[in-house]
């Protein structure tokens, strides 16, 4: 159904979390607004709205988004995380964005390796 997403449930959750965050930041950066709903996530990512809603709700639970009815917006923590993850990465054009590793990247082999890869990339962008 989603050929590019990892097969492991935990990795798949991390994958969609990163993809959703990236789409939210993209829409925000282009001036299309600060909120998304499951339908907009589906348009952006091809993730069916029911699954998208589940991921969005988990991101609310994790403190990255806040929910107002059917709409979701970045929380202050989500905003800060995004700025750290995305905005400081501009100077190195070859540096991948979050979860932008190729499908063969070692980080897709297990949740532990995914966390190690994400940690490694976070250290690279730290000021």
């Amino acid at each position: 159904m989603y050929p590019l997403s990892p097969k492991s449930e935990r990795l798949r959750e991390l994958y969609w979390r990163s993809e959703i965050l990236r789409a939210v930041y993209w829409l925000r950066g282009e001036g299309y607004g600060d909120v998304v709903d499951a339908d907009l996530v589906e348009q952006c990512l091809g993730l069916d709205a029911a699954s998208g809603r589940q991921h969005l709700d988990r991101m609310v639970d994790d403190g990255l988004l806040v929910r107002d009815g059917a709409w979701y917006a970045l929380s202050s923590r989500g905003l800060q995380e995004g700025e750290e993850e995305f905005a400081t990465a501009f100077s190195d054009l070859l540096k991948p964005a979050v979860a932008e590793c190729g499908p063969e990247c070692w980080c897709r082999m297990s949740p532990d390796e995914a966390e190690a890869c994400a940690g490694s990339r976070a250290r690279q962008v730290a000021p």
């Binding site: 282009e30 348009q43 995305f86 990465a89 501009f90 964005a97």
Partner: protein, 133 residues
């Protein structure tokens, strides 16, 4: 109005434009051309895509198609900070993208040649009808 649908296989289908059928995958050469003209951002690309005939193109569909093109290594992008607002994603064409644009242009030239042939015959038909009348 035009419907740009992203199919299950991640291909875009341009269904209608003011009741004029556009070529299948028309969004692809549009984006390749626009990025061949220079680096750009999502908002500007959406505006230009609409001017090229895909009037009902939406941000979500554009985002998804750009993401697909990035995975195909046709375009490259990065976050660019702004003094006035949030960071924006800047897109540029890769060498692979330039070759894809050349291929798309050749394909469209073939379509144009075929359509001109058809229209020439249609106009001859009208001329013949006028002569008989």
């Amino acid at each position: 109005m035009t419907d740009v649908r992203i199919d299950a296989d991640n291909t875009a289908t341009t269904a209608r434009a003011d009741d004029v059928a556009l070529p299948r995958h028309y969004l692809r050469p549009c984006l390749l051309l626009l990025l061949a003209e220079g680096p750009s951002h999502g908002y500007d690309l959406l505006d230009q895509v609409r001017r090229l005939g895909i009037r009902a193109a939406e941000p979500g569909g554009l985002y998804r198609y750009l993401r697909l093109m990035e995975k195909e290594e046709l375009v490259r992008s990065w976050w660019e900070p702004s003094q006035a607002g949030p960071a924006r994603r800047t897109y540029v064409l890769t060498d692979t993208g330039k070759r894809a644009l050349d291929d798309a242009a050749r394909s469209l030239q073939n379509v144009r040649r075929i359509l001109i042939g058809l229209l020439d015959r249609y106009e001859s038909l009208e001329d013949d009808a006028a002569t008989v009348a």
